[in-house]
Amino acid sequence: MTNLSGKCAIVGMGETVVGKRPDATTNSLHLEAIKACLDDAGIKASQVDGLLTNQPLNDSHRSYAVKLAHMAGIDPLFATDLALGGATPSAMVQHAVMAIEAGMATTVMCVHARKRSTPDPTPGHPIRRGDEHWEEPWGHFAAAGGHAFAAQRHMYEFGTKSEDLAHIAVSTRKHASLNKNATLRKPITIDDHQQSRMIVAPLRLFDCSLESDGGGAVLVTSVERARDFLKRPVAILGMGQHHPHFSLLDAPTLTTLGGKKSSELAYRMAGLGPKDMNFAQIYDCFTITALITLEDYGFCKKGEGKDFVKNGRIGIGGELPLNTHGGLLSQAHLEGQLHITEAVKQLRGNEVEPERQVANANVGIVSGHGGSLAMHATLILGAL
């Protein structure tokens, strides 16, 4: 088996303005993200021959990758929708590498947008996960509930407290306060977190991420072609996935998730370990998700996340800057698409506000997490 580490690179990235976009549609946000990505890469749509997207949460968008490609003037040799929830954006980059290395395409657009803060005027019906009728009759309706089950278990097994989770919320908000394209920019304190209202105990409002409108895209090509584009390429060094269960009903544990095996695969491919990472963009649909993933990724031992996230360690200038853009908690929730674009910007250098640039950012790790804490994908990216 060929090791694909460093064979492909991200050569373009685009982000839309995020937050409330009442006049936008799911379609328009995707197209905006594609346009921004093409402009960043300095190429035309006709030079792209592959397109990957997330399955939109609206049934009017079947075979959406093909539809989007043609809406954008792309004639794809390779196109498909992936459906791994919040693990999809990282998985798209992995599928792009696989397609390029298999000779199916040379230049693949990976795009995801979401219309969740304001109503999507596009006609259609919502697509659902599929097992809700084994949860909703007992009043379990929300992702906050699934993650609250995990938080309760983590508290029981390891003595983690709500105040420990608060450190993630506070640090992430601080990073958002430095990001002009972030939704919530007013800094918060540990006390603000502790005073915020309970949503699904033990998770409070400030443990929960945003509902957002916006989009993002990255362009992937072979490392040989990567120098032909405008910006400094970012190499794809490591990739992994693991999907250890589907629903809460078949989860072997809720305190170690797919991130453990997924990161082990990515580290092995990259020939790197947690200590080599200069930053981490970790999926943070809830604070507990980031805490569990930091442990699963080996930044600390299982159960020690509560101490790891304190004392400035996860801030800019700390040992492991975490979610330097403000994450899903405070920047915007686009299923982690912007965790990838942020990693690209950090590795290029000089693309984010100077106060939140990680010094000597050479290698970073990105996580995606989806479904009922079910799906996971990992990327390790490096400056070229």
Partner: protein, 143 residues
């Protein structure tokens, strides 16, 4: 979207009583019996949701067997926000994951005690809540 799918979407918050694999589960509950599929080949309990082939060995023969109705709390939460109008006057309410003694896990509610009294590892037993169209298995602490 088909008429059937539209019907399902409008029934948010309710079980699908006619789902072929799950139909006996709901019918047995109506008679206050908590049942699960047991594989005729490997003898293991399938778990939930019900499915056509055994999740352990993919055999297609199984029987619906009565469970003791006893289990332990794997995790529990309290909804302080109502995502559905019918829960507006119920918050805060408990939702628990109960691991049944014979195998299988249910999302359910612990009743008969305050949400803050529910503990991980607590022993619980089934009680049946009869609603006009179906019966829900819920659990109470074992005294």
């Amino acid at each position: 979207m088909s008429k059937d799918e539209r019907g399902r979407a409008s029934r948010r918050g309710q079980p699908f009583l006619d789902e072929p694999e799950a139909k006996p589960f709901w019918a047995n509950l109506r008679e206050h019996k908590l049942t699960a599929q047991r594989c005729a080949s490997c003898k293991k309990i399938f778990g939930f949701p019900p499915q056509a082939l055994c999740p352990h060995c993919l055999a297609s023969d199984y029987q619906w067997v009565a469970l003791s109705g006893r289990g332990k709390i794997y995790s529990h939460i309290a909804y302080h926000r109502a995502w559905h109008p019918s829960y507006q006057d119920k918050v805060p309410y408990n939702v628990s994951l109960v691991d049944l003694d014979e195998g299988g896990r249910l999302v359910t509610n612990v009743v008969g005690c305050a949400p803050e009294e529910v503990q991980i590892g607590m022993s619980v037993e089934v009680v049946f809540e009869d609603l006009p169209e179906y019966t829900l298995p819920k659990f109470r602490p074992v005294k």
